[in-house]
């Protein structure tokens, strides 16, 4: 399930508790992700899924849900 893998990537990259990561958790508000973290999270997602996330798309990834949806729609 994409959600589980994304959750793992977030835990490893941002180092936050698993419990906080729910579908509608906001990266900034709930997980305290700053600009550096979010850039590195995008990078980790790219490396994990072997995809390239364009600049505009990356700025849209502000919640766990938006990440899962992006991955589902962009990864075969």
């Amino acid at each position: 399930m994409t959600f589980d893998k994304v959750k793992e990537i977030i835990i490893e990259t941002i180092n936050c508790d698993e419990a906080q990561i729910t579908m509608d958790a906001d990266l900034k508000e709930d997980l305290g992700v700053d600009s550096l973290d979010s850039m590195e999270l995008v990078m980790a997602l790219e490396e994990a899924y072997g995809i390239t996330i364009e600049e505009e798309a990356a700025t849209g990834l502000t919640s766990v849900k938006s990440i899962v949806e992006y991955i589902d729609s962009h990864v075969a």
Binding site: T13, L36, M39, E40, M43, A44, E47
Partner: protein, 451 residues
């Protein structure tokens, strides 16, 4: 195998070669200048022979003194390292004449590849893409203007015997051309004693991608992936990565094959690097071939597991390459950060980082005097990670552990650089320094103000 190798170099590369020879049970003779009497290579080589005063011209570039020492010390081979005499065809020829094995290609290949203009011609003949440029040597400023009109501005004026950023000038329009031509010509005369100039189309802020190759004297040539050296400050590299985040696998394989083709066209053997520039659209052009081991070779070693100095020695003694192309697989990501001194002085204290995935190449020790006579590099920190992000985070950790006291270095600056978005995103080009060094410098000042 060789019994005894003379190392005609100093600093970290001399230590690197001494260590490799020690592992291969080869005795080492290091030559040194009076300024390097108390240096790590001199203390760790089996033998050390002082060959001249501090000035490089009279010591590390003193061909006769080096050859004489090799003869008197019965050395089978000379390893030139990088810089100094490593790409000097005359020196390689003198070694051949005294039947001392020069660890590198033949003097003939060095002079052919060393002349950037003849190298370009060779590549064109072999269908290897080169940057549009002047056919031969440019005789005068007028001729330069005419060629520039054909190629289209901006253009880059380069000394045929040039290297390391010397004897190079850009010209964005006709008004600038004559001045750029004369200054570059004068600088080339001073630096290399040869002011033959040629011209190339200037690609604005290209990516600097170079492919490592290995070839033996039996016709086997392989490529070992590329290195991205786009982070440079006035043509001096600061940080290198392998593989490059700018290339995808198809382009990587294509450029690797082109590099092998270029090396075969030159009849190349030993370790070598084929340098390309790439525009943002991914068009690549051959620039030059470096006929030596390079400072940044450890990042290639990190992602391929190949000891390039050892391979150089095996090739030089006439052995077959230890690897077929299929044996080379690129895994992980590696970054090398160069640590440079800003001031000469005595290193009062030094502590190197360590731990998983961290490799340090340096000749520093507590009490070592950094002299003003040679280049300012104090060492290199090379990190390896499963992914680029892991490598970046490991580099941050390693730079935080590194402590050098007694001389000013670029350590804090490089540490902050690893937090810059343009670096993290990757895909940066040679414009990185110009575009980002002010911001990083500001962080540095803010940091010191807060501290």
């Amino acid at each position: 195998m060789f019994k005894r190798i003379l190392i005609a170099n100093r600093g970290e590369i001399a230590v690197r070669i001494i260590r490799c020879c020690r592992e291969m049970d080869i005795e080492t003779v290091v030559v040194y200048s009076t300024a390097d009497a108390k240096s790590l290579p001199v203390m760790t080589a089996n033998y050390a022979v002082c060959i001249g005063p501090a000035k490089a011209k009279d010591s590390y570039l003193n061909q006769d003194a080096i050859i004489e020492t090799a003869l008197l010390m019965h050395c089978d081979a000379i390893h030139p390292g990088y810089g100094f005499l490593s790409e000097n065809a005359d020196f390689a020829r003198k070694c051949e004449e005294n039947n001392i094995c020069f660890i590198g290609p033949s003097s003939e290949i060095i002079s052919k590849m060393g002349d950037k203009q003849s190298a370009r011609k060779l590549m064109i003949e072999n269908g290897i893409p080169v940057v549009p440029g002047s056919k031969g040597i440019i005789g005068s400023a007028e001729e330069a203007a005419q060629i520039a009109a054909e190629i289209g501005y901006p253009v880059l004026l380069k000394a045929s015997a040039g290297g390391g950023g010397k004897g190079m000038r850009k010209a964005f329009n006709e008004q600038e051309l004559a001045g750029a031509f004369e200054t570059a010509k004068a600088e080339a005369k001073a630096a290399f004693g040869n002011d033959d100039m040629y011209m190339e189309k200037l690609i604005i802020n290209p990516h600097h991608i170079e492919v490592q190759i290995l070839a033996d004297t039996k016709g086997n040539t392989i490529y070992l992936g590329e290195r991205d050296c786009s982070i440079q400050r006035n043509n001096q590299k600061l940080l290198e990565e392998a593989p490059s985040s700018f290339l995808n696998d198809e382009l990587r394989e294509e450029m690797g094959k082109v590099a092998v083709k270029a090396a075969k066209a030159a009849g190349y053997y030993s370790a070598g690097t084929v340098e390309f520039v790439m525009d943002d659209e991914g068009h690549y052009y051959f620039i030059e071939m470096n006929t030596r081991i390079q400072v940044e070779h450890p990042v290639t070693e990190a992602i391929t597991g190949v000891d390039l100095i050892r391979e150089q020695i095996r090739i030089a003694v006439g052995m077959k390459l230890g690897y077929e192309q299929e044996d080379i697989s690129i895994a992980n990501h590696a970054i090398e950060c160069r640590i440079n001194a800003k001031t000469p002085g005595i290193v009062s204290f030094v502590h190197f980082p360590g731990g998983y995935g961290v490799r340090v190449e340096s000749h520093l020790f507590a009490g070592y005097e950094v002299s003003p006579y040679y280049d300012s590099m104090l060492g290199k920190i090379i990190v390896k990670g499963r992914t680029r992000l892991e490598a970046i985070r490991r580099l941050r950790r390693a730079l935080e552990e590194l402590v050098i006291e007694g001389v000013e270095t670029n350590l804090e600056f490089m540490h902050l650089l690893t937090y810059h978005p343009a670096f993290i995103k990757g895909n940066y080009n040679t414009g990185f320094w110009e575009e980002n060094n002010e911001t990083i410098r500001k962080w540095l000042e803010e940091g010191t103000n807060e501290a």
